[in-house]
């Protein structure tokens, strides 16, 4: 039992395992066959200078405006979280449109530049930007400290967005659709590294101020470490593909390094942070007591072990014996133990909930957890039958769109109305009658869209397993439709459109802006 002392100011406001089956072929791309002459060095110097000028400019502007988190109510709201969410949802819709249009896998090869456009639009644009936005909002709740250096949040978004634009252009350049002498991939890699570095700086400094860390925050700390490793590795790939650096060691073992890159991204950065945040958000939204902390600390331990074995064991084993089979098997064992323990915790939270009925975000999160465990079973079956390499696309699709994407969309359905409510009605709490958070959305209307989303993702993965690109595109179209409908609902929630006009804006409340959480300071 923990007691708060009598106080008034006591609490502060506070791999795709080698989807690059033939990626090494890109090193033979005409773009990369240039002599490493002085021209490249000149271009390198110019873009590094440009990069520095832009980043500095953004930093100065943001600091000058001193924008970041606001304290309109007592509760800290991150000013730019909605902008992060909006950008990430646009990337999700973009990626789904490309999939439905037959751009990239499975119509193109799994390692084709077109596929890499979709992969990075999804993994960086949708999932990573979403995770950054969510962490900027929830880190203060996780560690009970205000966010450090909130002025760096907006520059991080600019750098991530421009970095992604360059990276995607670089892959399009690699596909031959556009011609340019610019080392676009490398430029994108640098912007992304800078953007993620700013995000990690803000989040790590916040974590550092809150030591010793509560368990959910320890998951995020490991996730952020993976993000840094992932970013460095990704940037090395980008420079290699742009012909700016050479490394025979990496080029020869590209498949395994790409597998590590994906494992760190999907497993370490995205999934581990999602699991950590879920330990706080699920009990909060289900009115359940926090888990006992014993099982969850073993989830952290086994998951961290899997990631350490992957990030240290894989490169070491490649250097020593030329392949990373043993490390991969040990990491997979840790991963499966972690998943089993996490399932125990999820069931315990669900069973111990104080209120029987659950809201739509929790029901929809059920679809995401189902996708997580179906992926785990599918992965084991594919590995046992020797089909893992051949059917990797289906597995990665289910993990990215079912587990991570599904969890993201379902929680946005709660987080966006919640933040909007706090922003709009927080100052009036208790003083004037206000609508409830649930009144900002219409669950009965939105439930079917989540059903369509998960059915679309599930049947999409099955179509990939049965090598039916035509059916896959149809399923992708269904998920696109569901996503657009959910995004429209989020916009309606943000604009308070579901609240009757008479109750919408009591005296003293202001209609929130779509992308910026704002208010009186």
């Amino acid at each position: 039992m923990r007691a708060l002392p009598l106080t008034r100011a006591g609490v502060t406001a506070s791999a795709r395992s080698s989807f690059a089956v033939s990626a090494s072929a890109y090193f033979a791309h005409p773009l990369l066959q240039r002599d490493n002459d002085a021209g490249i060095k000149d271009r390198l110097t110019i873009y590094v200078l440009r990069l520095n000028i832009i980043a500095t400019f953004e930093l100065v502007i943001a600091r000058w405006k001193n924008s970041g988190s606001i304290k309109m109510t007592g509760a800290p709201l991150s000013r730019w979280t909605m902008a992060f969410f909006a950008f990430s949802l646009m990337c999700l819709i973009g990626a789904q449109m490309l999939l439905a249009a037959g751009y990239g896998f499975p119509v193109d090869d799994i390692a084709a530049p077109e596929t890499l456009v979709v992969v990075h639009l999804t993994s960086i644009g949708w999932l990573s930007v979403l995770m950054c936005g969510a962490l900027f909002q929830f880190m203060p709740v996780l560690v009970d400290r205000p966010l450090s250096r909130p002025a760096l949040v907006l520059p991080a978004l600019f750098l991530l967005a421009s970095g992604l634009a360059f990276l995607v252009s670089g892959f399009i350049q690699l596909s031959g659709a556009i011609e340019s002498d610019w080392p676009l991939l490398a430029i994108g890699g640098c912007f992304l590294i800078l953007g993620f570095a700013l995000a990690v700086w803000v989040l790590v400094e916040t974590l550092w101020s809150a030591r010793p860390l509560p368990l959910p925050a320890r998951f995020v700390a490991v996730g952020l470490t993976c993000l840094l490793l992932l970013g460095v590795l990704g940037s090395v790939f980008a420079h290699l593909l742009s012909g700016l650096i050479e490394s025979d060691q990496i080029a020869e073992n590209l498949n395994q390094y790409v597998a590590l890159h994906a494992a760190l991204g999907i497993g370490g950065w995205l999934s581990f942070c999602a699991i950590g945040v879920s330990y706080r958000l699920l009990p909060m939204f289900m009115l359940a007591p926090d888990s006992d902390g014993v099982t969850s600390s073993y989830v952290w331990l086994t998951g961290t072990s899997a990631l350490v074995v992957s990030s240290v064991g894989v490169p070491l084993e490649i250097l020593l014996v030329g392949s990373a089979t043993v490390s991969a098997i040990i990491a997979a064992c840790f991963l499966y133990i972690m998943l089993a323990l996490y399932a125990v915790d999820l069931l315990s939270i669900y069973r111990n909930r104080r209120r029987r009925e659950v809201e739509l975000n929790i029901k929809a999160a059920g679809g995401a957890f189902a996708a997580l465990y179906l992926s785990a079973i599918l992965g084991a079956v594919l590995a046992a039958t020797g089909q893992l390499q051949a059917e990797l696309g289906a597995l990665v699709y289910l993990v990215a769109f079912g587990w991570l994407g599904g969890l993201g969309l379902s929680q946005l359905y709660k987080i966006v109305p919640f933040i909007t409510w706090m922003e709009c009605y927080g100052p009036l709490m208790g003083r004037k009658p206000t609508p409830r958070v649930q009144d900002l959305v219409c669950e009965r209307r939105d439930g079917p869209w989540f059903v369509l989303y998960f059915l679309g993702v599930g049947s999409g993965a099955i179509s990939l397993l049965f090598h039916r690109p035509d059916l896959f595109r149809l399923c992708a179209l269904a998920t696109l439709l569901a996503t657009v409908a959910i995004v429209v609902e989020l916009v309606l929630a943000r604009r308070l459109s579901n609240v009757s006009a008479a109750r919408r804006l009591p005296e003293g409340a202001h209609l929130p802006r779509l992308f910026v959480v704002a208010g009186k300071k």
Binding site: A3, L6, R8, A13, G430
Partner: protein, 170 residues
């Protein structure tokens, strides 16, 4: 000659979901001069330490198994006041019995926060409201601070959180 301490077991009241505060205060009022109170509770009643401390009782608590606590409140010689920890010198350190008791354990966030703040708006300066919340209300603390209220709270065994808020100057 001093009296033996008066025994009071509030565990049945707590188990029944009741509020033992008034029973405790009645018992305290019935104490003879110099007599202590031996309290048995199913959690460590930290908020009481402050309340009875201001009445001149020194608590000594020990866990007696199964999560239960025995607290012996012994009268201090001078009945000295516990030094005020408040940063509002114009408000005394007295915490009157809660005027309102609310149970918000079954409400989805942010409804518990709304209920507590509604209750504080209805009370006069210095009055208190006690609330049972689903969990530690981290978003509520800064809002209470903003509005000039004081609070003390304690995590309960079932994971819920009991908070007592004293309304600040309006």
């Amino acid at each position: 000659m001093s009296h033996p301490p008066l025994d009071l077991d509030v565990r049945p009241i707590l188990r029944a979901g009741g509020e033992p505060f008034s029973a405790i205060m009645e018992a305290v009022d019935s104490l003879a001069p110099g007599q202590g109170l031996r309290l048995l509770a199913s959690f460590k009643p930290v908020p009481l330490f402050q309340v009875l401390g201001s009445r001149g009782f020194e608590p000594s608590a020990r866990e007696i198994g199964n999560g239960d606590w025995e607290v012996l409140f012994c009268p201090t010689n001078a009945g000295a006041e516990i030094p005020s920890k408040t940063d509002q010198p114009n408000i005394t350190d007295e915490w009157p019995l809660p005027s309102v008791e609310i149970d918000c354990r079954d409400l989805f966030p942010p409804e518990p926060m709304v209920k507590v703040l509604e209750a504080t708006e209805a009370l006069a300066t210095g009055e208190t409201v006690a609330a049972l919340l689903p969990r530690e209300p981290r978003l509520l603390f800064p809002e209470l601070q903003n509005r000039g209220h004081m609070w003390k709270g304690e995590q309960q065994k079932d994971g819920s959180y009991r908070i007592i808020v004293r309304v600040g100057a309006k």
